[in-house]
């Protein structure tokens, strides 16, 4: 929409060298954007297309033809059904999950994965967090162009195979654990690559050669997971169980949601929409959780925009990243939505939106909006420790006021955490699970007793 001051030259100088402003009157501009908004809010541009093939049909056929093995979401994963964009069913496993960690989360926002695991502990669900995992390597690919569809596919299927066989290390049958993908980019990338693999016999043959060398085939075939599942989808299915354990009232909290591009714009037909969440107009995860927890979810005009991460921009062209993050997301969330907190569900977005506020001061754009992941917020409402568990001290944006609004004494919590650091220095470390479970082969691995092997 045209805004005041958008004269010749416009607010931005992009759109290619031959771009000129439209000089629409305010009424004309409103009419034009109104038309677009009406359709966008109705998912029109996605559902209005003559779509769409469900790649899972190809997958079942290939399995029938003896070409691949499908890692099923089985009864012991206690699956629950969700509806995706076109009303198809997606099976979300709820227990016996293999954590496919995110390098950006673990390196930079550690309270993100620890909140997911803690919630699983609270709900009595089983999982494995282990060291035999690489990242998806897609951040690197999207940022640099180093890598290719074959390398991405091989990395994907190697990790998926490890998820499948991991339980053997503890004397349990293969297929016990089902992969749960923490990172939005891994999730989007794996879905895209799964589609390419299912469509291309040539790609399958190339990847099969590599995985054969690694000993990562099942009965001489590629193993493909039935569903690619993002943790935010798992959280969405858990939202009522989480709310049942909620101890903190968040009805006074005004939250804005930043949905992650790679979660819902990549392979959109596989994304959860729910008619009870914003009329099913927008992706249901995170918003559905916040509403169930009783927070006020405030809509804002740049909801569809990305965060500015850019993959290479966050590293090599940060002027773009921080300008976009501040101008298109943070400023709007604060000034338009009067938001107390921005909640996301992906690694790069949380990092970008959280870390890039401080520099705004240099140009008089002073904002202080807390940014965290949906799982961290959910854990807090269940009484998780803001420092020991939600690890909020790694966040650059100020969260203290938000905690006060939620009735959490952050000063006391911080003092407890500082005291805990002395315990850590003395080697008395609290963990969410037995550390010995994390190593499933190689140095440090302890075999289970013979009686438990052979599965």
């Amino acid at each position: 929409m045209q805004t005041k001051g958008d004269g010749a030259g416009g607010a931005y100088n992009g759109f290619g060298a031959d771009w000129t402003p439209t000089n629409l009157t305010e009424t004309e501009a409103k009419r034009a954007t109104g038309w677009v908004e009406a359709r966008i809010d109705k998912r029109f541009l996605l559902t209005g297309k003559d779509r769409k093939e469900d790649v899972r049909d190809i997958m079942w056929q290939l399995e029938k033809d003896g070409e691949i093995v499908v890692h099923r979401v089985a009864d012991h994963h206690a699956p629950e059904l969700a509806k995706t964009l076109y009303g198809w069913d997606k099976k979300i496993p709820t227990t016996n999950l293999w954590h496919h960690k995110s390098c950006g989360q673990c390196g930079n926002i550690p309270g993100y994965p620890s909140s997911v695991l803690w919630i699983m502990n609270q709900l009595g669900l089983d999982y494995l967090d282990e060291t035999d995992q690489t990242s998806c390597t897609a951040w690197n690919y999207h940022g640099s162009g180093i890598g290719n569809v074959v390398s991405l596919a091989a990395v994907f299927l190697r990790n998926m195979h490890q998820a499948y066989v991991s339980a053997k290390a503890h004397g349990l049958p293969v297929g016990t654990y089902y992969p749960l993908i923490h990172c939005g980019t891994s999730f989007g990338n794996y879905k895209e690559i799964r589609g390419f693999l299912l469509h291309s016999a040539e790609l399958r043959a190339e990847v099969k050669k590599i995985l054969g060398k690694l000993g990562r085939l099942v009965d001489g075939k590629l193993l493909i997971p039935e569903e690619i599942v993002h943790y935010s989808e798992w959280l969405h299915m858990m939202r009522h169980r989480i709310a049942a354990r909620q101890t903190i009232d968040v009805s006074a909290v005004r939250a804005t949601v930043h949905p992650a591009c790679h979660v819902y714009k990549m392979v959109p037909e596989d994304v959860i929409y729910d008619d009870t969440v914003l009329n099913g107009d927008r992706v249901a995860v995170t918003t559905g959780l916040l509403q169930t927890l009783g927070a006020q979810v405030i809509d804002y005009s740049t909801w569809y925009d990305c965060c500015g991460f850019g993959f290479r921009h966050i590293i090599g062209e940060r002027e773009f990243t921080r300008s976009f993050a501040i101008d298109r997301k943070i400023k709007v969330a604060v000034e338009e939505a009067r938001s107390d907190v921005m909640i996301g569900h992906d690694t790069g977005c949380i990092t970008t939106l959280d870390k890039n506020q401080w520099i705004g001061r240099a140009v008089g754009k002073v904002y202080a909006l807390p940014v965290m992941a949906d799982c961290q917020f959910a854990a807090l409402t269940m009484g998780a420790h803001p420092y020991k568990l939600a690890q909020l001290h790694w966040h650059a944006s100020p969260f203290e006021e938000l905690l006060e609004k939620m009735g959490i004494d952050w000063e006391q919590a911080k003092a407890e955490f500082v005291a805990y650091l002395d315990e850590v220095k003395a080697g008395r470390i609290e963990t969410l699970y037995d550390p010995r479970r994390a190593i499933t082969s190689g140095p440090g691995y302890v075999k289970p007793p013979k009686t438990l092997q052979g599965a």
Partner: protein
């Protein structure tokens, strides 16, 4: 689809630059690699020139960049224009795929940009080294460990614009890491502890898929460092395997 082959073959040069003209054959070789890319037909199906992609593109707001223009250049097989866009413009894309979600033709301009980036690397276009220089730390990390980011990469010095609160509790980094309740994350050099076998398997993937070759093209020094690390870890793994053959001849995996 082969209209470009019938064109006369004048050398392509920028009249206000001293750069050597680019021969037509070079432009054709580049375009051939683009359209032979296994995903090319998946990412482009025609173009209405409607501009919806550009209207929703974050990078178009801040750069002289337009996904519509990229798609048009490819669709009309404008070899000179493609070559020109590959110098700099393709690196403006933020890879958000908003364009792909919106395009009525189900094109993926973001996906096409990735093809162009891969081909730019293969053809060693002059801009590539320049653009990827700041990325070398991440490349080293991801190729040698399978993690792209490590806690000790996030320092106040590396990210001065993130301000003073990289962490809000002052303690040695390793103590803070050990205070994370996930044992896999008590690390500094990688985001989580990576199993030795995992890294070694990853090296096989890099070799078999031409990624190391790409790396050598972009940064020969980095390639040397990576090769040394790979050799070391492979030796370490072999030694461990030798030491740990159990009575049954099995190893522990």
């Amino acid at each position: 689809m082969t209209a470009h082959a019938k064109l006369p073959t004048p050398p392509i040069a920028d009249p206000v630059s001293d750069r050597a003209p680019v021969p037509q054959e070079a432009l054709e070789a580049i375009f051939d690699d683009i359209r032979k890319h296994p995903l090319y037909d998946h990412e482009i199906h025609g173009c209405l020139n409607c501009g919806i992609c550009t209207a929703t593109c974050p990078s178009a707001q801040y750069y002289d960049y337009s996904p519509r223009e990229i798609v048009q250049l490819l669709w009309t097989e404008n070899l000179e224009g493609i070559y020109d866009a590959m110098q700099e413009k393709i690196w403006a894309c933020a890879q958000c795929y908003t364009c792909a979600a919106r395009c009525p033709f189900e094109n993926s301009p973001g996906g096409l940009v990735m093809i162009l980036r891969e081909v730019a690397i293969k053809h060693e276009l002059p801009s590539v080294k320049e653009v990827l220089r700041p990325f070398s730390r991440v490349l080293l990390k991801v190729v040698t460990t399978g993690n792209q980011l490590a806690p000790n990469m996030i320092t106040r010095d590396a990210f001065p614009d993130w301000g003073p609160n990289v962490t809000k509790v002052d303690a040695p980094l390793m103590v803070l890491r050990k205070a994370i309740p996930m044992p896999t994350m008590h690390t500094l050099d990688t985001a989580w502890e990576v199993n030795l076998r995992t890294s070694v398997e990853l090296y096989t993937i890099w070799e078999a898929t031409g990624v190391l070759k790409q790396l050598a093209t972009v940064d020969a020094n980095l390639f040397d460092v990576v090769s040394d690390v790979m050799d070391e870890k492979r030796d370490e793994w072999e030694e461990w395997l030798e030491d740990n053959q159990d009575e049954d001849g099995d190893t522990d995996d």
